[in-house]
Amino acid sequence: MNAQLSGMERPGRSGLAPAASAALLVILVVAMAVLPLTPLGADKFTIQLLTRIMIMAILAMSLDLAMGVCGLVSFGHAAFFGLAGYVLALVAPQGEAAGFWTSIAMAMAATAVLALVMGALVLRTTGVYFIMVTLALAQMLYFLFHDTKLAGGSDGIYIYVRPDATLFGFRPFDLDNVQHLYYVVLVALSLSYLLLRRVLSSLFGKVMSGIRINESRMQSLGYATFRYKLVCFMLSGTFAGLAGYFAAVQFGVVNPDMLGWHLSGSAMMMVILGGMGTLWGAVIGAAAMILAEMGFQALPAVTINGSEFNLGKHWQLWMGSFIVLVALYLPQGLGGALSALWRALFARKAAPRP
């Protein structure tokens, strides 16, 4: 009815102009894509490290969807990650390759079902109870695999042959090749990001944000919030499963640690470190956490007052301090700090936001 209002430009949520952030994304993906062709990327270790970072980035992003976008602070996301790995291990025939396309679909379907069942139970609770119940259910799954002979018990199972991607007689890539795996995971991360980003800007995405901000108001507006939270939890769990599938492919082994609370906690720290609710913040958080961990572990031994102290061996001390400092001084995480920096450098001419 009001042309002036309707025609008004409405700024997006990210703070960056859409064109600028799209350009940045393309540059990053292209840089990642050409990296294996450069001398820096010729090293197998670097490629494997980056693959691992990208896998954890998918996991962190999936958790960010639940936690940062919808306010569902799940402390049990390792359950989805680990279950997908176990599905791959269990469907692979003894000593033969599993089909890549069928096994990845089965792993994601299984995690979707697990998230549906788990969500139907845990979403009846909120706040600190939600955190504890997600943790409890995930630990139940951990002990199921740890204490039974279902899948190798506490030792886990080896996946001796990586999945075979042959489709209609054509083999597009070979997962035994570290560079191929790198590219497949890069594509998976990019597509997951684009898809979830799209979902965030949809009607469903707006409902998720509304629930995080003020769930009871959403209900009084007419939203059956339970349903939306359940779908969000399923979507989130399924992408955590995607990450777990690739982790199992990369390491060639699955064990109960993939389901443990330690991993759930790491994923949560990645999201907090990178900044919540933006998805790309989670990607930065995953990279920062893995690289910081490696950096601290590589610290040398020093001699203080004649006694030797190994800085690298006590890396968790530095890691903890790092996380505390980020939490204290960068409440929007590293991602928030980066986008503030970006705005200060390039977007000075843009209209001031209220």
Partner: protein, 252 residues
Amino acid sequence: MSDIVLRTDTLTRCFGGLTAVRDVSLACRFGEIHAVIGPNGAGKSTLVNLLSGDLPPSAGRIFFGERDITGLASHQVARMGVGRSYQKTNIFLPLSTFENCRLAAQTRLGHSMRFFRHALSFAEINAAADEAMVAAGLVGRADVIAATLSHGEQRQLEIAMALATRPRLLLLDEPLAGMGGDESARIVELLGGLARDHAILLIEHDMDAVFAVADVLTVMVNGAVLESGSPESIRSSHAVQEAYLGSDGVHG
């Protein structure tokens, strides 16, 4: 009576030993403002919470049109065409004024399990949000973050959000709370206009405003209805003057 939008039958709500609302029977008609007044603690807000489904009643029934909606959840009640505003401002503070209204208008679509199309591309939803902002007097404030709006504007946004869901019945819990004179006058004018195509249940402490806009008045004391009728009959009621108006001389 076909123009009755909402009707309650001996509605009661107890909190432990306290009966906050006792045997309240009232009706809201299309095109009418039904104001509920009464001293603090009379049970007015509890009544609104019962009608909106935020609280289940202990006894009694609520009918929306012909349908018994007793015990339905708040989102189900809202879906039927009941919009409410809160006494204590209850909005999405980090979102813009427009997004607050758009989110409210989005409920018109039936469901929001739509994952790909951009939320801002639904022209009819954007138009409904704009319309609600204009109706509530928030022109030009679309892109302001709700947290930075003035108190009066936040109250207006409350009403805009309730309107954006396109309700048949509006439950307004003290829409004038904490508003200045000019702001109040604007909202009173707005309410008069809204009454043409809504049923309105209004809880309000501002007696000048209530007597200016209400078609029907119900006076509640200690959870029960003391008297109900036209503003003139309430004004001249001896019982009401004794119990409520007379003592502090607001309208004696």
